[in-house]
């Protein structure tokens, strides 16, 4: 075995740089994602510090990062939480979808993208980053707040929408004629629904096969199964990411909880590599022409997300200040917008740079704005009752 010194050196420098950037971002209660994207731009083609030796590793790591992101998304899913979200916040989810996907679709049409590109852009503007938002709520000590369940419910319903959206978009993205795409999408959606059923009715059986008291065994089994299913899914043109998501859905209960804990650090590492790779794949020279479009799209969908959050919070009878907090908390877009672009980006030249710039702007603006919305003394509420009953 030959030790690849150049690779080790480059990777070491990259990870050290990411850790410094991450610390910096966390200190300011910001998401590190925009900084990871910038780092990717810097080390990519046409950047200031190219890293030729680790290019292959970053590419492979990014693929694993997407798989782990989607696996954990599936693991996070729980039927009772979904049911609570459905009971209270279906109208919020509708408002969310219409207000935030439509601007993306319109922008896609204006920019002359084809059907797939338009659909991808609509998805990228629709989905808030549950990773950024959940972390933000915890960092800003908002878990006790009255508006928080509304925000989290909107996120859960968005993640469920992703379950149906990703297979639909992944199949045409992998090429083929329209009927192949339609058939593939149908199969993929059937697979998602089957996985829901399996996890609901027989999840504990699968859990018994996977479950092992030893953490190393658990990690090997889950990762092995996930990569196998992901590869199979990719073979039938349904995207590895969707396959990984299905595995996550099928694992429930105690197994899911333990797997989440074991996978956490691995997911964080490879997700960082994924963000880096997205930055690497974008040529800084291509970024400049799409900046005006990205800025306009970010401005519009920033406002529409605030409206969505305020609407959802109002449904839970939250007061004015809480509504603002909920609205601004949802602004951040992140990992899933980038996953969508990762799926279709290779076939569209402008989409990659556009969404990268867009996510950069909103992953930065979201945490900043929601922090501002939480400051300032509450206005005295004359004539209002001292306490409002909590939503049932």
């Amino acid at each position: 075995m030959r030790t690849p010194v150049a690779l080790l050196l480059e990777l070491g420098v990259i990870l050290a740089a990411l850790s410094i950037l991450g610390t910096l971002a966390r200190r300011l209660t910001l998401s590190p994602i925009p900084l990871y994207l910038l780092a990717g731009l810097a080390v990519g083609e046409g950047g200031v510090a190219p890293v030729p030796a680790s290019g292959e590793f970053v590419e492979t790591g990014a693929a694993i990062g997407v798989i782990l992101l989607l696996l954990v998304l599936g693991l996070e899913f729980s039927l009772p939480e979904f049911a609570v979200g459905m009971r209270r916040h279906v109208p919020s989810a509708g408002v969310d979808l219409v207000l935030n996907a439509v601007p993306g679709a319109v922008a896609g049409l204006l920019l002359g993208l084809d059907g797939l590109g338009t659909l991808a852009l609509a998805g990228a503007t629709y989905i808030s980053s549950s990773g950024i938002v959940a972390r933000l709520l915890s960092d800003l000590h908002r878990l006790g707040n009255r508006e928080t369940p509304a925000v989290l419910s909107v996120l859960v319903l968005e993640d469920c929408a992703m379950a149906l959206y990703l297979p639909v978009i992944a199949v045409p993205a992998s090429g083929g004629s329209w009927w192949q795409a339609a058939l593939g999408a149908l199969i993929a959606i059937t697979a998602v629904l089957a996985a829901f059923t399996v996890s609901y009715r027989w999840g504990h059986h699968l859990g018994r096969v996977i479950e092992h008291p030893d953490e190393e065994q658990l990690l090997l089994r889950v990762l092995g199964l996930t990569l196998l299913v992901a590869a199979l899914a990719e073979l039938v043109h349904a995207s590895a990411a969707v396959g990984a998501f299905l595995v996550g859905l099928a694992l429930t209960g105690e197994t899911a909880t333990r797997t989440r804990a074991v996978l956490g650090p691995l997911r964080d590492l490879f997700a960082a590599v994924f963000f880096l790779a997205i930055g690497v794949s974008v040529d800084p020279a291509e970024l400049v022409p799409v900046l005006p479009a990205a800025l306009a799209l970010a401005a519009v969908t920033l406002v529409t997300k605030v409206v969505t959050g305020r609407y959802a919070a109002r449904r839970d009878r939250v007061g004015r200040r809480g509504q603002w907090r909920a609205g601004t908390a949802l602004i951040a877009r992140g990992e899933f917008s980038l996953v969508i672009v990762g799926l279709v980006g290779t076939t569209h030249d402008t989409l990659g740079p556009l969404v990268t710039a867009y996510v950069f702007l909103l992953a930065l603006a979201g945490p900043l704005l929601t922090r501002l919305a939480g400051t300032g003394a509450p206005r005295p509420r004359l004539g209002a009752p001292a306490g409002r009953p909590a939503p049932p």
Binding site: E81, H141, R142, G144, L152, T257, A390, P391
Partner: protein, 159 residues
């Protein structure tokens, strides 16, 4: 007391109740095992002010502190049935004469007639301890007997 449960999807649970002085209290129980205690101000009843953050170990310790006296209270209910009989708690102080000694070495029953029916140690409750049971600093002995008997056990353990 009414405790409202609110599901926080993807994060955990929140329990809310109104204390007897009128303050609204929330306890956020996260999936990770961490806890947060929040208070709601009258100015913005939607906004919680975090007053305490506990990891799972600290939360266990607090639960134990709040929960241990209750075990003795339950014994107290029991002894109400018999006139003249009472129950009490005696703490074995760390570094005291009986820290590390077996229960039998105290000769508490022989000298006072009162019985040590349980040893509360951290989370665990050792019910009906034998004379061989080793005592440790921090243990709380649950004693049943006459009031003089309980006071006697207290004097013995204090040394």
């Amino acid at each position: 007391m009414d405790v409202t449960e609110v599901l926080l999807p993807g994060v955990g649970m929140r329990y809310e109740f109104t204390g007897h002085k009128g303050e609204r209290v929330g306890v956020v129980a996260r999936r990770t095992g961490d806890f947060e205690l929040v208070l709601y101000d009258a100015g913005d009843p939607d906004e919680g002010r975090t007053v305490l953050e506990l990891d799972s170990e600290e939360a266990d310790a607090v639960a134990e502190i709040l929960g241990a006296p209750r075990i003795a209270e339950r014994f107290a209910d029991l002894t109400k049935e018999v006139p003249g009989l009472g129950s009490g708690q005696v703490e074995v102080r760390p570094g005291s004469a009986y820290d590390g000694q077996p229960l039998g070495a105290t000769r508490a029953r022989t000298l006072t007639g009162a019985s040590i029916v349980a040893v509360v140690r951290g989370e665990e409750v050792i019910a009906s301890p034998t004379p061989q049971q080793l005592l440790r600093g921090g243990d709380v002995l649950v004693v049943i007997g006459t009031h003089e008997g309980i006071a006697g056990v207290d004097r013995i353990i204090r040394g």
